[in-house]
């Protein structure tokens, strides 16, 4: 029974709070017997990108890579970012409330077998290569996501 349950998710956002929500859902679903696929596209690639990764390609790609540098440790908040003070405060509040950090949630997700897929097209556009990804994952396009999504009972876009 549990083998048949699937959840697929698009992580479009590169905001820390939204990535948190995505990972809580992914780990929760994996614990409930769902096979989970997280398709990371555009800013969502930052969740699985190495923090030291720099973009490759022309001037525009490198400029964008500079402004969008870093993995999940550098993610801003979707609200009240306050030039980076917001995420620090939130991380402290999470520690105080004993909420798992993004790092812990990502590790837990991988341990539970959550499958991450990096979007080929947005990697190309943004000058991100496979070597820039910190997490073992597949690289795929819209068809690979839709194939998963079609088999899933739960589909989310974050």
């Amino acid at each position: 029974m549990s083998e048949e349950r699937r959840m697929s998710m698009i992580l479009f956002s590169g905001d820390m709070d939204k990535a948190m929500a995505a990972l809580v859902l992914a780990t929760g679903a994996a614990s409930m017997g769902y096979q989970v696929t997280v398709f990371c596209t555009f800013w969502g690639l930052n969740l699985i990108k190495k923090s030291e990764a720099m973009a490759h390609g022309g001037v525009l790609e490198r400029m964008m890579g500079f402004m969008n540098k870093g993995g999940f440790e550098h993610m801003p908040l979707s609200r009240m970012n306050m030039l980076g003070v917001g995420p620090r405060l939130l991380k402290k509040m999470m520690r105080d409330k004993k909420v798992a950090s993004l790092r812990d949630l990502l590790d837990t997700a991988l341990e539970l077998g959550v499958q991450f897929v990096a979007c080929q097209m947005s990697m190309d556009v943004m000058g991100i290569t496979r070597e820039d990804l910190a997490v073992p994952c597949e690289v795929g396009g819209v068809a690979s996501f839709l194939n998963e999504a079609g088999k899933s009972q739960i589909n989310l876009f974050i």
Binding site: A30, G33, A100
Partner: protein
């Protein structure tokens, strides 16, 4: 209630109690009972939902102050 194994999830917040209990249940055999204690306010609702979705049976739910202890029979 007697349990074959107990798991302490006190001090953990969502989703960790569910993650931990699901790992523990996987290592157990059918019919065995797992006792999970947690003080996350969402735990009661979550453990009920987890049991409903996974088909494991919630035998009892005890509360003592902030702490809820769920007894789950592996099916």
């Amino acid at each position: 209630m007697q349990a074959d194994r107990s798991l302490d999830c006190r001090g953990m917040a969502c989703p960790m109690p569910i993650v931990k209990l699901s790992k523990a249940i996987k290592e157990m055999s059918q019919g065995q009972i797992l006792a999970v204690s947690a003080d996350d306010p969402g735990f009661e609702a979550d453990v009920r939902a987890w049991c409903e979705t996974t088909g494991n049976q919630l035998k009892a739910l005890e509360s003592e102050g902030e702490i809820r202890t769920a007894y789950i029979a592996k099916s």
